[in-house]
């Protein structure tokens, strides 16, 4: 996430530099060069942990245990990846996570958008109160145990929907979309109305196409949040078949650590080798990283749209 932000900064800067490239003084060139160097360095720093993990995942376990692996693998092997990719627990968790992310993101985006749209209209009666009620839930909640009880009474414990249903309308994201909607000119809606379009049609054909940048951003927020969420699963899921990838990863790491192995000799004998831990972490991170490039053009577009409108 951080990494991508910096990439984005780089893009902006290159775009800026490109625009003024016709005539630049030596000072400006130096400045640009410094910028490049600085941001590449920053980018590299955020890459280091990944490179280290990659090196560990490709090294022999002996080299990892003796702490000799830094940025380059020692004693290259690929069995760790083979092992993880045919491990049924990893694959089950991966399937759960993909399902959760796809279904969760689609539903949440839909629900959040249709909540935001009416609330962005000043003519909605009682809008202020409605908004206040939404914001109230941002600040106060029933607490963990009552929420758990509720989920249990709804028969949602140990099901996939419990991981996305309660989070479908995210108030913070809803406010962002609402603000974006409010920024769209009122006249667009008026002219569509004159042409005979109803509310739903206006939303689908006029407002949403214009809002792609914000929708893409929020979709990414949702996707990353669902992908990275382990807490809900930790609370509501005891069935191993339904554990998402992040929970699996967390447990993989915790169950190989000091506190867990105390008094549990059997777990200690079966400890997961570090190189397998490293490849599991990498394999769990790559899918969500792959989503960024596809959504990035909307980010850039969003920036541009904003600037043209002023």
């Amino acid at each position: 996430m951080q990494l991508m932000k910096q990439d984005l900064d780089l893009k902006k800067i290159t775009a800026g530099a490109g625009g003024n490239a016709i005539k630049s003084s030596p000072g400006e060139k130096l400045f640009a060069a410094f910028n490049y160097a600085f941001f590449i360095l920053m980018g590299m720093t955020t890459m280091l942990p990944f490179i280290n993990l990659l090196a560990k995942s490709l090294s022999s376990e002996q080299a990892v245990v003796s702490g000799r692996v830094g940025l380059f693998p020692i004693g290259i092997q690929f069995e760790t990846y083979y092992y993880v990719l045919q491990d049924s627990m990893f694959l089950t968790s991966l399937r759960t996570s993909v399902l959760l992310t796809v279904i969760g993101t689609a539903l949440s985006l839909f629900m959040t958008t249709i909540t935001a749209y009416p609330l962005s209209k000043t003519r909605l009666r009682g809008r202020k109160w409605l908004l206040l009620m939404f914001v109230f839930t941002m600040l106060f909640s029933g607490g963990l145990i009552p929420t758990y009880l509720l989920m249990q009474n709804l028969n949602l414990v140990n099901t996939l929907p419990v991981l996305f249903l309660p989070a479908m309308v995210n108030v913070f994201n809803m406010l962002i979309i609402k603000n974006y909607f409010e920024g769209l000119p009122e006249s667009l809606e008026e002219s569509a109305k004159l042409d005979g379009a109803g509310n739903i049609r206006i939303l689908i054909h006029i407002i949403l196409p214009l809002s792609l940048p914000v929708l893409a951003t929020i979709a990414l927020f949702f996707a990353v949040a669902f992908w990275n969420d382990y807490f809900a699963a930790m609370i509501y899921i005891t069935n191993p078949e339904l554990k998402p990838l992040q929970l699996y990863l967390k447990e993989l790491i915790v169950s190989s650590g000091g506190e867990f192995l105390k008094n549990n000799v059997d777990a200690a004998i079966n400890m997961t080798p570090q190189s397998i831990q490293a490849s599991s972490i990498l394999l769990a991170t790559i899918p969500i990283l792959l989503v960024y490039p596809f959504l990035q053009k909307y980010f850039v577009k969003g920036v541009l749209v904003g600037s043209v409108k002023g």
Binding site: Q62, A63, S66, T238
Partner: protein, 503 residues
């Protein structure tokens, strides 16, 4: 008002169900029925109807229980379909409390000591005496009376104690023999010799003489001063190690090592993994190794330093010229039936069936010729079949045959010759020297259960401070006063009350 009356009905229902189970004839109430009282007038015939599904919650393990060989084996042998669920690896206690508070209807729970005590005293667990009497013949045979003590509160058994693999020694100091040879040193036999050896290594080799981790402060060196496990019997009274005068001597010795650079300066922050890294990469000369880490540690050392040779330092002798090793024989797991269970009798029958001797043997080491073979009276695993099928079998255990399991279990250690070698060497070195913690057989005692973990952390944190000298040893008594005030005094008093009454 409404709430109160439902609660009352519930209590009444449970108590009726209980008396129905224990008081009546041996015939079981029909399984799968709701906990409402059964009309006890017509003793129903033991029916061959389908056995209900048992819902069991177990501790965390990195596997899917439903897909394990062992779970299929259990269902096949006992006839009970079982739904397994796991506590999370972290925050397991919170999650368990949540589940119990919501009356999730588990039938069997595999708990650690703290969890068991917590649930038993809050009234969430079913007393098992009568159920065991009626349906627990194999269980009663497998478990020794002294183990039952650990699961008995106010005269009632609230769980089946699982002692696991028996008393075994986990750690022992190891040292680089090739360096000792090079420097003309011999393996140290007591604390003073160890000091000299470490000092020479420091001067001549410029490596960390002794590394260690923050998780394992005591052990070989502490025992030479008489600091063994948490509790020690002195003149018929139990003394906690924090209050032993020898503790100060031990910390003083460690502080000397630390101040002279003989003990890894990073020891207070090292994890076991980090300490192993230092030893395996040839940056440290000595380390207190746990045998379960021996396989990877020694392999890594041999790869990075092909000439390295490692010796196990026999347990160091104390001032009286005798070596001792402290060990715990505590019950590791407690197998309990929660009050919220809907199939209490079936749960006991299920647990009983798992301890039927032949079934249990299969559960522990599989089938002879397929999973294990017998060589000179010892069980050896057949690889990779043993690993594929039985790697996680221990997690499914619900009570063990206390005579046979420690013998069966050792097959697990023989999976790897290095592992086996270190395990057997450690046990052989400790033979005849083991002093079992006198509190091992104690029943759960409130003041002890409540304070043990908290005070252990307090003691360990402060021990590290005294070792590194960030806190001078003179202020140990100030710390001790704090330790006593935060529950230590209560704990020691309660422990001694039990100890006197048990004599």
């Amino acid at each position: 008002m409404a709430k109160k009356s439902t609660l009352l009905t519930l209590l009444l229902g449970v108590s009726l169900a209980l008396s129905g189970c224990g008081g009546g004839a041996e015939t079981p109430a029909s399984p799968g029925a709701d906990p409402a009282p059964q009309p006890s007038g017509t003793p129903s015939e033991p029916k061959e109807e389908a056995k209900p599904e048992i819902r069991m919650i177990m501790q965390y393990g990195l596997f899917d229980p439903a897909k394990e060989f062992t779970s299929k084996y259990i269902t096949e042998k006992t006839g009970y379909p079982v739904q397994y669920e796991m506590l999370p690896a972290e925050n397991a206690d919170e999650k368990l409390n949540l589940l119990v508070a919501n009356k999730e209807n588990f039938d069997v729970m595999k708990l650690n000591a703290a969890q068991f005590y917590n649930l038993a005293t809050s009234g969430a667990l079913e007393p098992m005496d009568e159920l065991l009497e009626a349906h627990g013949n194999h269980i009663n045979q497998a478990i020794k009376p002294e183990s039952w003590e650990s699961a008995t509160i106010d005269g009632k058994k609230y769980a089946i104690p699982e002692t696991g693999s028996g008393v075994s020694i986990g750690e022992e100091l190891i040292i680089r023999q090739d360096w000792l040879d090079e420097l003309g040193l011999s393996v140290p036999t007591n604390a003073d010799e160890l000091y000299n050896v470490l000092k020479t290594i420091k001067e001549k080799k410029n490596v960390i003489p002794l590394t260690g981790s923050k998780d394992s402060i005591y052990g070989d060196i502490a025992t030479t001063f008489g600091v063994l496990t948490d509790w020690k019997e002195v003149d018929g009274k139990l003394v906690h190690k924090a209050e032993q005068p020898e503790m100060k001597e031990f910390l003083g010795y460690m502080n000397k090592l630390y101040a002279e650079g003989l003990l890894d300066t990073e020891m207070p922050i090292n994890t076991a993994q980090k300490a192993i890294e230092k030893f395996a990469s040839g940056k440290a000369a000595a380390y207190k190794l746990a045998w379960w880490n021996a396989g990877s540690t020694i392999a890594a050392l041999n790869e990075s330093n092909p000439d390295a040779k490692v010796s196990v330092i026999p347990y160091l002798k104390g001032k009286d010229g005798k070596a001792v090793v402290g060990a715990n024989a505590n019950t590791t797991w407690f197998i309990a039936i929660p009050k919220a269970s809907k199939h209490k009798e079936d749960a006991v029958k299920f647990l009983n069936a798992k301890l039927e001797p032949e079934t249990f043997k299969g559960l522990a080491i599989g089938e002879e010729g397929v999973h294990h073979e017998v060589k000179d009276g010892k069980y050896y695993p057949i690889l990779p079949k043993f690993n594929d099928d039985l790697n996680n079998a221990s997690a499914f255990m619900t009570g063990v045959d206390e005579e046979k399991y420690p013998i069966y279990w050792q097959a697990r250690v023989r999976k790897d010759p290095v592992l086996q070698n270190y395990f057997e060497t450690f046990q052989k070195n400790a033979e005849g020297l083991v002093v079992v913690d006198p509190m091992s057989t104690a029943p759960p005692i409130d003041a002890v259960s409540r304070n043990t973990l908290k005070l252990r952390t307090l003691l360990d944190d402060n021990a590290l401070k005294f070792i590194t000298g960030s806190e001078p040893l003179e202020s140990y008594d100030t710390f001790l006063a704090q330790w006593r005030a935060e529950g230590g005094e209560d704990m020691v008093k309660a422990a001694n009350e039990w100890y006197q009454s048990a004599q």
